[in-house]
Symmetry: C2
Subunit: 478 residues, 2 copies
C-alpha cells in the first residue's frame, strides 16, 4: 500500500514493491509495552522516533506514541539503520519484548523489523531531539507543538481532567446538559460578545437580515440555560466552550475557553455550593495525580518547581472561607501598596486576590457575600440591608486568583422581577421569570474556568499553553 | 429564609415565620428512595409534584426530581393538603420510607411534613397532569419542556450516552481533545459557515477590522485539528458542537449540533475504521439500554413502537459493508422510482440511503469507496483508476440514513499537495501539508452526528426533539 515510500529495513532485505508486511504480532501501545508483565513475546509497536543512537554493535531508538510521556527503548542490529530513520519519523517496529538489563527501564524491544512509514524533514522540523524549548517558542507551531514532551504531557493531563470532571458529576447524580453555544441572550453583563452572522455581506439592521431572525451571540456562560434544567433534574452540569470578545492580551484570558458549570436545586445555603466546589477541585486533582503522575511531575520539575508543594498544601488543607467585608478589611490592613486601593463596594482585583491567598497561607480561599451592586441580576439578595450584599462566592487559588465563581440564584419572583424591571430587562427575561412562577426552588451553582484549573495544578504561567488551539486578539491560527 | 412563601404543612401546624425546618433526616434522591433496600427510616425527598389525589382518608402525591422517570409515591394525612400543593409545585417531603402494599411500587413515603417551597401557577403552566402532548407542542416551551416525561427521559438518555461515549474512547486508549470552535479555516466545503464578528457595527473589509486579524468562522468539523493531534497521540477523539448556516428546514438538520469525531494513526485499512464505528455504536447503545431502561422504553412504547425491534436487530447483527459501486447497482435494480435517478458519480440521497438499508434487512450498512470527485480533498485516493475512488465510508442506519462518515486521509505528501494545488488551496493548507512532511503516518477517522444517533436509537422523527435548545433557521429561543 505504501510502495512508493515503504522502507522495510529487515535483516532479510525487502526486494520489491509491494513490500511484504511483517508477520502478525500483538500490536501494543507504548504504554502497554512499558507496563507489560509478560515478556519474551513478539509484539509490534508504532510511533514516532524520539532519539536515534547508533553504536558500532547496536542501534538504540526511543519510540513514543503519545500514550505516555515515557518512550520505549528499541535495540536493533546496526544493519537496520537507514537514512530515513531519524528523529520525528513515523515507524513501525516488530520484535521481541524483553526484560531490560538497564536500570532506566523495565523492558525493551529487540527489533527484528523496522519500517519507516513516514520520514521527517529534520532540517525544517522546528523541534530538535533533547532540546527543551520555551513554551513561547512552541506556541508558534500549534500544529506541531503537541509532539513535544511538555505539550503532550499537558494534553494528556487535560484529557484525564476532562474525564475526571465528567465522572465526578456523574458519580454524584448530576445530569449532563449541552447548553447552547449560539444564544439570543445579550445582556448578562459578562463582557463583550461575539456576534454570529451568516455571511460577509453588509447586513442592514432589521429582523430578517438575521439567520435566526434575532441577533445571535456566542455564549458567555451556560448558567441561565442550566437553571432551566435544574428545574427538572435537580442537579445538572455542563462542560463546554464559552467566549469573550475582550481585547485583553493578558496571560489569564482567552477569547475561547472552557467552563465547567453546575447548578443545584433545593440549595438554600452558600455552604452547600462551596462544598461541591471544594470536592470537585480535590477529587479531580487526586484522579489526575494518580492517573498521570509522570506528566504532572514534568511540570513540577521543569516548568514550575514551586507548584508541587503548593498543590500538596491545597489538597491537604480545608479551604478557607471569608466574607467580602473581611477581605476588604484584610486588604486595608495589608503592609503592601496596591495599584487599586481596596474599598468596600469595589471589585477585588487580581493583585487583591493574590494577596488574600498569600495572607491565608497559600490555601484556596472562598470569598462570600459580595456587594449587591457589583454582581449580576440573578444573584440572591442576602437582605442584610437595603440591597447591600448578595449570596455570591468566588474561589481564589494560589498563583491564579479567581478560579471559580458562584452564587445562590434569586428564586423569589418578586425580588427578581423588580430587579429586572429596574434594569429594563423584564421583557427579555420573561422566560427566566417564568421559571420562578412554576415550582421555583431555591437553587444555586457555580462555574470553574477549566484552563485556569490546569494552570493552577500544573503551575503554567500563560493560559495559551494549556489549551490545544488558543484563540486571542489578533490570533486564530489554524 | 423563605418566610414570605414558606408553607410548612404539618400535623402540628406551623405558627409563625420564620418557619422551623423539619428535623434532620437523610436526604435521598427519588431514584435512591425507589431502589432503597433499607426501609422504615426517616428520609427527606425534594422535587416537583407530578400528581395530587385527595381521598377522604388519605392524600396521594407523586414526587419527581428528575433522577428517574418513575416518581415516588407519597401518602399523607389529608390534613396536610394545601392550596399550593398542586401539580408542578416544588416540595420538600419528610417522612418514613416504607414498603408499599401496592403492586405498582416497592416503596412509598409516609409523609410527616410537606413543605411547598415554590408554588406553580397551574393555569399558566403549559403542561397538565397525565396529558401526553405532541413533541411539536412542547417545542414551543424550551424552558419548561424538560419537565415533561418525554423530554426528561430524552435528556437523561442524552446524558448517559455522552458519558458512555467518553468512556468508550477512554477505555480504548484515546486522548480527548478540545478542537477549536472558532477557526480560520473556511474552505473545507462542508456547507455554509457562520461568521464570527465582534460588533454590530458595519466593518470594512481588510485585516484590521477583524478581532483575530483574519476572518473567523464557527467550526464545521474538528477533523483537521484532530489530525494534528493524531500525529502525537495516535488515537484521539473530540465530542463538541459543530455548525452549519444552511437554510434547511428539515427534520434532520440543525444549525448547531454535536459531533463525535475520532482519528487514528497507523491505520491502513478502512476496515479498521469501520470496526471502531460499529463498536462505538453497539457499546454506547448497550450501556444506554442498561442504564436507562425505563427512559428508552418510554420512547419505544409511546413515540416509536417500531423502533424497539429494529434496535435489537441492529445490536444483534454484524453491520453490512457494500461498495458505492454495488450500492448504485442495487439502486438501479430497485423496483421503486426515486426522485433522484441513481447514477455512478452522483451523491446518494436520503431516499437512496433509506432504500439501501431496507434492502439490507434494516441492518446498518457501511458504504465504502466513493467517487473521488464527490469527496473533500483530504480523502485518500484508492488508485483504482485515475482519480476514480477514495477510501471513504458512510454508515447508513434504519430510519435516518447517514449517521457517520469517515475515510482514510491522504497521508502521502505529493498526492495531497497536487490535489490542494489544483483546488488553489496549497497556501491556506500549508500547515496541513506540514503534517505530511514530519513523520506522516497512514491514518483515518470518522465523525458521528450525536443527535442523529439519539434519533436512531429512540426513534425520534425530528432532530429538534433530541437536543435541549435547538437552533435552526428563524429560531434561537432563549
Amino acid at each position: 500500500m505504501f510502495g512508493a515510500r515503504c522502507l522495510l529495513l529487515a535483516l532479510r532485505p525487502c526486494s520489491s514493491a509491494p513490500c511484504p508486511k511483517p508477520a502478525q504480532a500483538a500490536k501494543l501501545r507504548v504504554r502497554e509495552a512499558l507496563g507489560a508483565q509478560e515478556v519474551n513475546r513478539d509484539i509490534k509497536v508504532q510511533g514516532w522516533v524520539r532519539s536515534v543512537r547508533s553504536q558500532k554493535e547496536v542501534l538504540f531508538l526511543h519510540i513514543n506514541d503519545g500514550s505516555s510521556l515515557e518512550s520505549l527503548q528499541v535495540v536493533a542490529d546496526p544493519t537496520l539503520e537507514h537514512r530515513d530513520l531519524t528523529f520525528g519519523s513515523a515507524v513501525e517496529v516488530q520484535g521481541k519484548l524483553v526484560k531490560s538489563l538497564h536500570r532506566m527501564q523495565n523492558v525493551e524491544l529487540k527489533a527484528e523489523n523496522i519500517r519507516v512509514v513516514g520520514p521527517c524533514d529534520t532540517l525544517m522540523f522546528p523541534f530538535k531531539p533533547r532540546e527543551r524549548q520555551p513554551l513561547e517558542y512552541s506556541r508558534q507551531f500549534p500544529h506541531l507543538r503537541c509532539r513535544t514532551n511538555t505539550l503532550s504531557s499537558l494534553l494528556r493531563v487535560r484529557s484525564e481532567a476532562t474525564a475526571a470532571i465528567h465522572s465526578f458529576f456523574k458519580d454524584n447524580g448530576y445530569v449532563h446538559v449541552h447548553t447552547p453555544i449560539i444564544t439570543s441572550n445579550d445582556c448578562e453583563g459578562a463582557g463583550e460578545l461575539f456576534h454570529v452572522r451568516t455571511s460577509n455581506k453588509v447586513q442592514e439592521p432589521g429582523e430578517n437580515s438575521h439567520f435566526f431572525n434575532v441577533p445571535a451571540f456566542l455564549t458567555v456562560s451556560g448558567q441561565l440555560h442550566l437553571e432551566v434544567m435544574a428545574g427538572a433534574f435537580t442537579q445538572v452540569f455542563t462542560f463546554g466552550p464559552t467566549f469573550r470578545a475582550e481585547n485583553s492580551q493578558s496571560r489569564r484570558h482567552l477569547a475561547e475557553f472552557y467552563m465547567v458549570e453546575a447548578e443545584m436545586s433545593f440549595t438554600e445555603s452558600l455552604q452547600d455550593i462551596i462544598q461541591v466546589m471544594e470536592d470537585l477541585f480535590k477529587t479531580v486533582t487526586s484522579i489526575v495525580l494518580s492517573k498521570c503522575p509522570q506528566d504532572v511531575e514534568l511540570f513540577h520539575k521543569y516548568v514550575s518547581p514551586a507548584q508541587k508543594g503548593r498543590l500538596e498544601q491545597m489538597l491537604k488543607n480545608k479551604f478557607i472561607t471569608i466574607s467580602y467585608t473581611e477581605a476588604v478589611e484584610i486588604l486595608k490592613r495589608a503592609p503592601q501598596t496596591f495599584t487599586f486601593q481596596p474599598k468596600w463596594g469595589s471589585d477585588l482585583q487580581t493583585e487583591h486576590e493574590k494577596y488574600l491567598v498569600k495572607h491565608c497561607g497559600e490555601i484556596p480561599v472562598f470569598v462570600v457575600n459580595y456587594p449587591y451592586d457589583l454582581k449580576p441580576f440573578y444573584m440572591r439578595d442576602n437582605e442584610d440591608g437595603p440591597q447591600r450584599t448578595v449570596a455570591a462566592v468566588d474561589l481564589l487559588v494560589p498563583g491564579i486568583g479567581e478560579l471559580c465563581g458562584g452564587s445562590l440564584r434569586e428564586e423569589r419572583p418578586h425580588f427578581l422581577q423588580s430587579r429586572l424591571a429596574r434594569l429594563g430587562l423584564a421583557d427579555a427575561y420573561q422566560w427566566y421569570l417564568d421559571l420562578r412562577q412554576f415550582g421555583s426552588a431555591p437553587h444555586g451553582g457555580f462555574g470553574m474556568g477549566f484552563e485556569r484549573y490546569l494552570q493552577c495544578i500544573l503551575g503554567v504561567d500563560n493560559i495559551k499553553d494549556v489549551i490545544p488551539f488558543p484563540r486571542f486578539p489578533h490570533s486564530c491560527l489554524l
